[in-house]
């Protein structure tokens, strides 16, 4: 069974949306409460490499994409999840699963204000110490 089918079978109806833009680009959406289960499956069981996560601010919600690479085949899986509550955005941290996610969660937290519950060391990574609290540079209200 290939990895695509394994993900579909194991996550079943937890996959809200599945989109294959090309043979190497697979985007799928899960609810934010299922993110830890999804990452455990991809990283621990299926042995995918965590490439990075990317957060963005859309008009409707805050969005995080967790990018995983299957180096054997060149397939690239991006797990999408939405956080609708922009006032107090929260999601479970994936850093307890593997330490390689610690820095990027810190970055998303300071840039977009998303709190990662269970993160071992959620403090600023890139912004200066005197950057104002509660101002998140990558939110759309900060217009360039």
């Amino acid at each position: 069974m290939n990895v695509k089918e394994a993900i579909k079978e194991r996550l079943g109806n937890k996959i809200i949306d599945w989109e294959e833009i090309s043979s190497r680009r697979i985007y799928f959406t899960v609810d934010k409460k299922d993110i830890v289960e999804t990452v455990l499956l991809l990283f621990k069981e299926l042995g995918l490499r965590f490439s990075i996560a990317s957060g963005s601010d859309t008009p409707e919600a805050l969005e995080i994409l967790y990018h995983f690479s299957l180096d054997k085949t060149g397939e690239f899986f991006s797990v999408r999840t939405f956080i609708n509550d922009k006032k107090n955005p929260q999601i479970d941290s994936i850093s307890p699963i593997f330490p390689g996610a610690e820095w990027i969660e810190r970055e998303i937290w300071e840039m977009l204000g998303i709190k990662f519950i269970g993160h071992p060391n959620l403090k600023r990574l890139l912004l200066a110490e005197d950057w104002p609290e509660g101002n998140y540079p990558l939110r759309q209200e900060n217009v360039t």
Binding site: I52, S54, L65
Partner: protein, 398 residues
């Protein structure tokens, strides 16, 4: 009356870029913990990119790093071309070859730069001078092809900006031929020198499992036995059509990282030679006008590992989001396991072994665990490291 002159070195050293700050906690000689503080050089490029149009962004991301300054624009144009249906379907054949040549020339110059600095850190200043001497012809080749020694401005969505002239090709081939004896020299110097073995073997080990857990990339991962290389796994340019090998070592120590980089330079030369041989005539730019809505991912094997760009377009002439992840973002974090447990005299080379942009080691301070007192600065550490090599040499009677 005497006036003392104090020459401050760091935290911003003119020689080096990308400031990072490592705070080592030590007990006696042993490193027991490490704090890594980055962000000194955060310029808000992701946010800035939202205000540039698609054709301006390559110039912006090219300035992320002066050493691998073609990896970022390459990854960016790949991401945009991913929205357009993939590099292979968009970019003219000749441009694919030129892109590959630029990518590989950059790897050779970056690895030579690293080799020189690694040599300096362990007290082999001759290696430093020779490695940088042989890096010069590479920069000359860049100047010949692109007009610049750094920041080549070669990449654009849909192609490249400059062609390689026919009359330059013999000169480039000759320069590559001249490089091989130099690489042989370095290979011999590293593989056969008992002092280098003593300094680099079993030092700063990153096991395979640790490499997986810290998600490291590039030579750092390949030296720990991870079989990954974007050039082979998700081929861009013409890597699919060229004969070359991925270099993998198993030990995970600094020696393995050095060997990977040295052997990779031979592969790069092989790749460039084949490209110059097989490059067809033709257009170099597809002249792309509009970027449709959508999202794209571009990945390039930079000298330090996978460089990742994510672009989201809403159909206007500017990206709504650009996410950049440089390889060092993953590799530097892994120093937490690489350096802890080692000695202070090995810390400089361990922190440098992932090939961050070097200033990091210049900025190390060592704190005494019991009273948080600063006892050594970055320069002291390099001296300590060089001293250790000297002692080993004396012990070996050399």
């Amino acid at each position: 009356m005497s006036h003392k002159v104090i020459v401050p070195i760091g935290p911003y050293h003119p020689l080096l870029e990308e400031p990072e700050f490592f705070q080592l906690y030590v007990e006696g000689e042993k490193v027991v913990d490490i704090d890594i503080i980055i962000g000194y050089n955060h310029r808000g490029i992701e946010k800035l990119a939202e205000a540039k149009h698609f054709d301006q962004v390559p110039y912006l991301v090219e300035r992320i790093c002066g050493i691998c300054s073609s990896s970022h624009p390459y990854a960016y144009v790949l991401a945009v071309e991913d929205i357009l249906g993939g590099e292979i379907n968009v970019v003219p054949e000749r441009a694919l070859f030129i892109r590959t040549i630029i990518d590989e020339l950059q790897r050779v110059h970056s690895h030579l730069l690293w080799l020189g600095l690694a040599g300096h850190f362990i007290g082999y200043n001759t290696v430093w001078m020779w490695a940088w001497k042989y890096r010069e012809p590479i920069l000359d080749m860049f100047e010949m092809i692109t007009g610049n020694r750094n920041n080549y401005a070669m990449f654009k969505v849909g192609g490249v900006r400059r062609d390689i002239l026919d009359e330059d090709i013999p000169v480039l081939k000759k320069a590559l031929d001249d490089l091989i004896p130099a690489l042989d020299l370095f290979k011999g110097a590293v593989m056969d020198d008992p002092v280098i073995h003593a300094r680099l073997k079993s030092v700063g080990i990153l096991t395979k499992q640790q490499a997986i857990d810290w998600c490291v990339v590039g030579p750092t991962a390949r030296a720990s036995g991870l079989n990954m290389d974007v050039r082979r796994d998700e081929p861009y340019g013409v890597f699919e059509r060229i004969d070359w090998n991925v270099i993998i070592e198993k030990e995970g120590d600094i020696f393995a990282k050095t060997v990977v980089r040295i052997l990779e330079m031979y592969e790069s030369v092989r790749i460039i030679r084949q490209c110059l041989q097989k490059m067809p005539k033709g257009e170099i730019d597809a002249d792309i006008k509009d970027i449709p809505p959508g999202e794209g991912i571009g990945r390039v094997e930079a000298p330090r590992g996978e460089c990742f760009h994510y672009v989201k377009s809403d159909g206007t002439n500017r990206p709504v989001r650009l996410k950049i992840r440089a390889p060092s973002f993953m590799n530097v974090a892994s120093n937490k396991v690489g350096a802890v447990g080692g000695t202070i005299s090995d810390a400089t080379i361990t922190l440098a072994a992932v090939d961050p942009c070097y200033c990091c080691t210049e900025r190390v301070t060592v704190m005494n665990k019991s009273d948080n007192r600063k006892i050594l600065n970055g320069w002291d550490l390099i001296k300590l490291s060089q001293e250790k090599t000297r002692k080993i040499k004396e012990g070996l009677g050399g």
